[in-house]
């Protein structure tokens, strides 16, 4: 064979092999992490994890009840504050301000906030809420999470409303429906699964967030439903337990890590299935 052909083919085969290797490399990490989580976390999962509170130092009895419930409460409130705000903001960008200067500025800033380090959000809430309020509180943690939710929801809402075909809006307007009803009754309904996808993704994003909670909600060894005091939550509890010298705490940390990861991955997959349904329609 012509030597030039041979070397071109050889190069191609080498590069193909490297690309396959890269894909294998990426998938291997996911497999390794999931394997370790199941291997270390599954044995520790028992009813006690869900029914008992975090143990005091040295004790070998206890669970994660207060942390799980605290995490759920803060995630729900964070999404409850952030999602409507993001939804309305995204609505403005997609429906009212499509050709506005303000819109392009907001979109640009939003995209930056989307990837801003979450620890900065924690510092922001510490300065803006924790210091003036005079102490760490679960509510400050909720606000920090809400600030992370907003850009995610703004982005998906704008994208999803942009996919709604204009003739739908025009038909509704031609029937005499005012603008706000066109958006709420027609555009929102047409984009419903996409909007839910955005909220699910945002929930997945904050469910495992640790950095912004470190100095807002802190953590709490005991069960508490008081939003004005510190509240236990899974990520910070894991953070504290991993660095502790107690074997039982580490075991609990693995169980908590498995719970968080499964929740987050389930939310991600759910969002993707919902999103795929929409685009295939």
């Amino acid at each position: 064979m012509n030597p030039i052909y041979a070397s071109r083919r050889r190069n191609d085969i080498i590069i193909r092999g490297l690309c396959m290797g890269a894909a294998l490399f990426g998938v291997t990490w996911l497999a390794l992490i999931l394997f370790t989580l199941f291997y270390n976390g599954l044995s520790g999962i028992s009813l006690a994890v869900f029914t008992q509170d975090t143990p005091p130092p040295g004790s070998t009895e206890g669970g994660l009840r207060n942390a799980i419930i605290g995490s759920i409460i803060m995630t729900v409130i964070g999404v409850g504050i952030g999602a409507p705000l993001g939804l309305f903001a995204g609505t403005y960008l997609a429906e009212y301000g499509k050709h506005d200067k303000l819109t392009s500025v907001i979109r640009f800033i939003n995209d930056i906030l989307l990837s801003a380090p979450s620890i900065i959000i924690g510092l922001f809430i510490y300065g803006a809420i924790v210091v003036p309020m005079g102490g760490f509180s679960a509510f400050a943690g909720c606000l920090a999470l809400a600030v992370i939710v907003i850009p995610v929801v703004v982005r998906t809402t704008e994208d999803m409303l942009g996919l709604v075909p204009n003739p739908l809006r025009e038909a509704a307007s031609a029937l005499g429906l005012p603008r706000s009803l066109v958006i709420r009754r027609i555009a929102y309904r047409a984009a419903r699964s996409g909007l839910i996808t955005g909220v699910l993704l945002a929930t997945a994003r904050i469910a495992g967030e640790t950095a912004p909670l470190l100095f807002t909600a802190l953590s709490n060894q005991f069960f508490s439903l008081n939003l004005t005091k510190t509240m236990a939550n899974l990520p910070v509890t894991i953070n504290n337990f991993v660095q502790s010298p107690y074997a039982y705490w580490k075991e609990l940390a693995w169980s908590g890590a498995l719970l968080i990861t499964l929740t987050v991955l389930a939310l991600n997959i759910g969002a993707r299935i919902l999103g795929a349904e929409r685009t295939s329609k």
């Binding site: 071109r8 190069n11 191609d12 590069i15 193909r16 690309c19 290797g21 890269a22 894909a23 990426g26 998938v27 990490w29 996911l30 390794l32 992490i33 989580l37 993001g86 309305f88 903001a89 403005y92 301000g97 303000l102 819109t103 907001i106 800033i109 995209d111 930056i112 906030l113 990837s115 380090p117 979450s118 620890i119 900065i120 510092l123 922001f124 300065g127 907003i150 850009p151 703004v154 005012p178 603008r179 706000s180 709420r184 469910a207 495992g208 967030e209 640790t210 950095a211 470190l214 100095f215 990520p235 953070n239 991993v242 940390a253 890590a257 968080i260 987050v264 991955l265 997959i269 993707r272």
Partner: protein, 329 residues
């Protein structure tokens, strides 16, 4: 019949006016609610900047610009001596190493997914890579702390140290002793974490290449590699760079994963197998127990990080916008 129509006429205009004015009110209210929410995004950015500057002000006044190049970090000294050089060095070096690993691998996966992979395998592999992005960073940190760190310290690090022992420059960079907590371990974890960002954006921009271009290249006998190198990459260069910058922005600010495995040492050491710290790791591990000038110094570190990531992310977005415009035309 007549009676009915009288009623209709009487009710008609009145209801119509009322309904119309209700519509109008509803319209205006909804418009302003959405507009205010949209503006609140700008207020959040403003709030972040103001609260960081206010918090950092005492440290800015005390240390001035020397903060940037002082290496000593002694918060418990009297008066406290704070310098950001260690964390800045750690942040940059871990991000650079992470990108050196993640860029070739991420692009490789993207090429694999768009050009080489059989169709039925595309979705599962794509999903696996995207799920890597979904795993919370504390899980990466924990995994790096318990699994990856010990593994690297027992296998990879001694190997590299013995290979480069005595070689100038490289011998220092890969100098011993091996360590569970090191800049290199943090970099590897960061690389795994930002991999999905590079891959998913590259896949997206690779898809914008018009099929005709690729078919023409294949038609004249190009191999897959030649098509990628001479058609796909030149066409999508700006977008790929945008994706890389986005990943860099993530790597610079990543906190929990790094905090666990970097070792929290403010001393700058020449070996990448030595412990170090990053801006975010320093804040995460010290902030809760800090006060006064120490706390202000940590907030100043946060401000530096925010400014740094802001510019990196802004550049990334501008590049991606440019590509979007190109695709739109």
């Amino acid at each position: 019949m007549a009676v009915e129509s009288d009623v209709m006429e009487a009710a008609g205009p009145y209801d119509r006016a009322r309904a119309l004015s209700a519509f109008k009110l509803g319209d205006i209210t909804f418009y302003w609610i959405t507009r205010l929410c949209a503006i609140s995004v700008l207020l959040i950015l403003g709030g972040i900047i103001i609260s960081l500057i206010v918090g950092a002000w005492p440290a800015i006044r005390e240390y001035g610009a020397a903060f940037l190049w002082t290496q000593r970090w002694a918060p418990s000294a009297d008066p406290p001596v704070l310098g950001a050089l260690g964390p800045i060095y750690g942040t940059l070096i871990t991000s650079v190493i992470a990108m050196m690993i993640a860029i070739p691998v991420g692009l490789g996966i993207a090429v694999f997914l768009t050009e080489i992979c059989p169709l039925w395998l595309r979705r599962p592999i794509g999903l696996a890579v995207e799920l890597l992005a979904g795993i919370p960073s504390i899980i990466y940190g924990m995994w790096g702390f318990f699994v990856l760190g010990p593994f690297l310290a027992n296998t990879f690090q001694p190997f590299m140290i013995s290979v480069f022992d005595g070689v100038p420059v490289l011998g220092t960079i890969f100098g011993g002793p091996p360590s569970y907590l090191s800049l290199f371990n943090a970099s590897l974890i960061l690389a795994i974490m930002v991999l999905p960002f590079i891959t998913s954006i590259s896949v997206d921009v690779f898809k914008t290449v018009p099929p005709v271009l690729k078919e023409a290249a294949y038609g004249v006998g190009c191999t897959t590699w030649e098509v990628v190198r001479n058609v796909v990459i030149p066409y999508t260069r700006v977008g790929v760079i945008g994706g890389i910058m986005l990943a860099l922005g993530r790597a610079l600010g990543e906190t929990m994963a790094v905090t666990f495995i970097i070792g929290n040492s403010f001393k700058i050491q020449s070996s990448i197998f030595a412990p170090g710290t990053t801006i975010s790791a320093a804040i995460a591990s010290e902030f809760a127990e800090s006060d006064g000038l120490h706390q202000s110094g940590l907030i100043l570190l946060g401000l530096l990080l925010f400014v740094l990531t802001f510019f990196v992310l802004a550049a990334a977005r501008l590049m991606l916008l440019r590509l979007e415009k190109k695709a739109g035309n």
